[in-house]
Symmetry: C2
Amino acid sequence: MRIGQLAQSVGVDTQTIRFYERQGLLPPPDRQENGYRIYNEKHGERLAFIRRCRILDLSLAEIHELQRYQDDPHQSCAVVNALLDDHISHVRSQIAALQALEKQLVSLRASCNDDREVAACGVLAGISEGSMHPQQAESSA
Amino acid sequence: MRIGQLAQSVGVDTQTIRFYERQGLLPPPDRQENGYRIYNEKHGERLAFIRRCRILDLSLAEIHELQRYQDDPHQSCAVVNALLDDHISHVRSQIAALQALEKQLVSLRASCNDDREVAACGVLAGISEGSMHPQQAESSA
DNA sequence: TTAAAACTATATATCTGCTATAAGGTCAAT
DNA sequence: ATTGACCTTATAGCAGATATATAGTTTTAA
């Protein structure tokens, strides 16, 4: 099957497939005489695996790591579980950071109402005043 | 004050200050004869405002919008409140998406333990099997 | 006085995970 | 013969910085 069919069957763009190939996530397929890429079932499965990992928000580097584990099927799968545990912590710390942010935003929002001029806006005043602690949606979990 | 002092006083990199200037978030300051940028108090306040907005995870475009509102101080601050409300919805939908993701990851993790070979890993099997719904950390709130 | 350290300047590349565009080659049907 | 759908590579763009390269300036110390 050619790249367009593969793309459609998995639900990705053809560009994305070439991109994964360049990133080393998909093995370079054979080519027809005219240079067109030819894919088989295995490629489809591998691509679907990548997409499912992406749905879980695993990074391409993490997916790469999982693929390396799959290439050595007799080692303990503790490494896989550890990767997943790390990812779960990561997601949890993102959630925590966003919840703290939400709280901050809601409290800021409460400091104003629509019946004012911008010059007297409680929200803008609250931002300008300071007393805020840096805390991006990312921490070391 | 020069760029290095400003950077230190606000706690950002000098590169970041030049970046904000290029993005139109900071007005181009006067220059010394040697071409060095010279900043005053106003610049410091404006930069601090930007940083506090960033801590609230507002995008540079949103910050720009807030600045435009500040330039027209007699309009109703409803626009500011609306921007904040939108941002709060945005943050809440991020949280919801991440919580759904966490649930999915935890359930996946429960399907394995460390006493297996990679070949029999429940986590990898779970990912390979499919039956997953696309759901990135972003939705239309 | 001179030489190194510390600062400034611009331009460009890097990061993530794609997506989009440009410019062109291939193939089947009309 | 030409249209259209497909394929190829190369390159640029998004966000929001951060890093690097190269060069000029100022300050400090020997």
